[in-house]
Assembly symmetry: C2
Homo-oligomer: 391 residues x 2
């Protein structure tokens, strides 16, 4: 079993010395490193909520280390290793994997609202691959195996440890029928940044579960508690002994920001009158029961209309809402939140992680209503002389 | 001709009031808005420099407003309008366009090193589409036409103006044989965020030229000086009368950050010994003559080995360099820069734009060299008790 290792204090100090200070607790002093992370680990473009399936490059990304390229991930030379406490260890090529039973499943995948994202660590795609369950049966899991350890090909330093990205699942969680090893996304070959050639997909679970660039699956007899397991906990404060492992997505709703944006601030402009609002809601493995919308910053809420059917059992459902008589000159904060089939409400602050930036806090979209003449582009001459952006 | 319009002072004030203050001139107090922009307008993952062609979702993006979706961009209902000073105005469906002559061309596309990017506003893709020249001949450009105005379907507020994204080209620039209307990227259908269903590709020019979600092409008799023309100028200071329109990409080189990263800071760790460095260089329509590498933060420079051939006339060329005897414990800033066939050197500060953050300044990669035992992941037990990321 490949394990993470702690690097020396000197190396950690060297790494720290070569960069600027970390982000403080102020809202608006993000560091270059955080902007850089946002550049690598981008979010869903929220207007993409209009699409039932998120195209590959619009789907959010979290890349812990580097995207592996080269022979280890090439179609012809890649090998998946299934080993550990199994009767028949397997080493499979992509051709072997593509010959196996093939299933497709739409999945809404999400990560915390957390640096570097705001609301948009999200995406819904149809993943195509082969069920993990069948592979495990073929290999023959031994009785003493209690967990499966999934190791990615991506390596780096995090929390002072040199590590491959590693996550585990219990045998029960890993052998559910919807758990697959995926090699296609929306009917196209998996792109490098989404885990090519092969990744784990565990529908209904937070993104970090879905290990990319899968190198090996190892059946183990002692619980794995590596860095990437310890890091993803719901806790109320540092070291909280009541902390819970992150598992299933919680209920949440987002709207397509209406109208058009101001380039830099992304504040929205909408035309006066009736404004159609729309969006999507999801609750991991649960159904969404109700979506609420507020046009007054959360003072009052009204019910949105849900689509007849969700995109899938583990994928979002569309909703719509008519905002009537928006008055020119008015400013609004539009909000939305959802409630799942068990009655869980989105803004349950108790569940926040102490270092998450927003967790499931309802989205709030700043909107300026403009008059119809102002909304239209009429063809008046452009102003002179040349001016420059404010940046 | 659709023109931008200035919105009222009240609307502009409202937009401003609904957001946090703008970024100041300090290095490390980026605002939420800037992080949000980075999330939408992501960069190339620099490890992707290892690939001759950049996969769609790894290619940099600049989306001024929203990604248009719906009927205006749908394959079956989309129409390109070619109008203005032409004898035979055209209105073409995607089927019409796909029936026309089809060409493919590899292009390195780039934008300024500028908020929200650091080095990585870059990508190289094979674009497939139909030559613009032939379409213009079919429509019959009139003699008094001096420019073509390209209008996108994306609308929003920028610089106080409500506008569709608009850029122009002179007839000479627009009728070069390499200028195409593209509907495929790397052999796959164009993705929404890259301009689907149809975009302009002008090889060798900065990214803002390549208008996405193309709605119309209009032949005009007076020079177009709209916001998106005024904004992209090489100037030394605000209002500089010597300012020049941005056209061709300047010479530049980047390296694949070697070794593995620290998750948060992206500082690199490499194993002691000989380290192979590699990267790509480009110079818009010009050839790259030489690539230089420094392992001591720019104090001394040595020549890298260029590949025999560039990926294309308008696309980057690979280079490699062996860094010998990297010593464990040492810290280095690795740098690279290029020189084009006319002798232009990358770090020509004179050409910087006054508000660009780095322009063509050579990349500098912080690297910590670690000992071989430290580099390997040996399988020692993981530390306990649980710890949390620093964010």
């Amino acid at each position: 079993m490949e394990k993470a290792k702690t690097v020396s204090k000197e190396v950690r100090k060297d790494v720290k010395q070569m960069t600027f200070p970390y982000h403080t607790d102020k809202t608006d002093d993000f560091t270059s490193e955080e902007v850089n992370l946002a550049n690598r680990c981008h979010g869903l473009h929220l207007e993409g909520l209009d699409l039932a399936l998120t195209p590959a490059g619009m789907h959010y990304l979290l890349i812990h280390f580097d995207i592996p390229t080269g022979p280890a991930t090439a179609e012809s030379t890649y090998r998946l290793k299934l080993r550990g406490l199994v009767d028949r260890p397997l080493e499979l090529s992509m051709a072997d994997i593509r010959r196996r039973p093939r299933v497709s499943i739409p999945v809404t995948m999400e990560y915390w609202t957390h640096v570097p994202w705001q609301n948009e660590a999200l995406g819904t795609a149809v993943w195509t691959g082969t069920p993990l369950k069948d592979l495990l049966e073929e290999a023959g899991l031994q009785d003493k195996a209690i967990e499966l350890l999934f190791t990615g090909l991506d390596k780096g330093l995090q929390g002072g440890e040199m590590q491959y990205y590693q996550r585990c699942l219990t045998i029960d969680d890993a052998t559910r029928e919807e758990v697959i090893l995926a090699y296609e996304m929306n009917g196209q070959p998996l792109l490098p940044q989404h885990g090519a050639p092969l990744r784990l997909i565990v529908p209904g679970w937070y993104g970090m579960t879905n290990v990319k660039w899968l190198d090996s699956i190892e059946a183990i007899s002692t619980p794995f508690d590596g860095y990437q397991m310890q890091a993803y906990m719901f806790t109320q404060y540092p070291g909280d002994p009541q902390g819970k492992r992150m598992r299933h997505l919680k209920v949440r709703s987002l709207m397509v920001p209406p109208g058009v944006p101001d380039f830099f601030t992304r504040v929205r402009l909408v035309e006066e009158g009736n404004v159609k609002l729309k969006g999507r809601a999801w609750a991991g493995p649960l159904a969404v029961k109700q979506v609420l919308v507020s046009v007054d910053g959360g003072v009052t809420w009204a019910e949105a209309t849900l689509a007849a059917k969700a995109v899938g059992k583990f994928a979002w459902i569309a909703w719509s809402f008519e905002w009537r008589n928006a008055r020119a000159g008015a400013k609004h904060f539009l909000m939305t939140k959802a409630i799942d089939e068990l009655g869980n409400v989105q803004d349950n602050a108790e569940e926040w992680n102490y270092y998450a930036m927003g967790a499931t806090v309802p989205q709030s979209v700043p909107v300026v209503v403009v008059s119809s003449p102002e909304w239209r582009i009429t063809g008046k001459p452009l102003p002179n002389p040349p001016r420059h952006p404010k940046l």
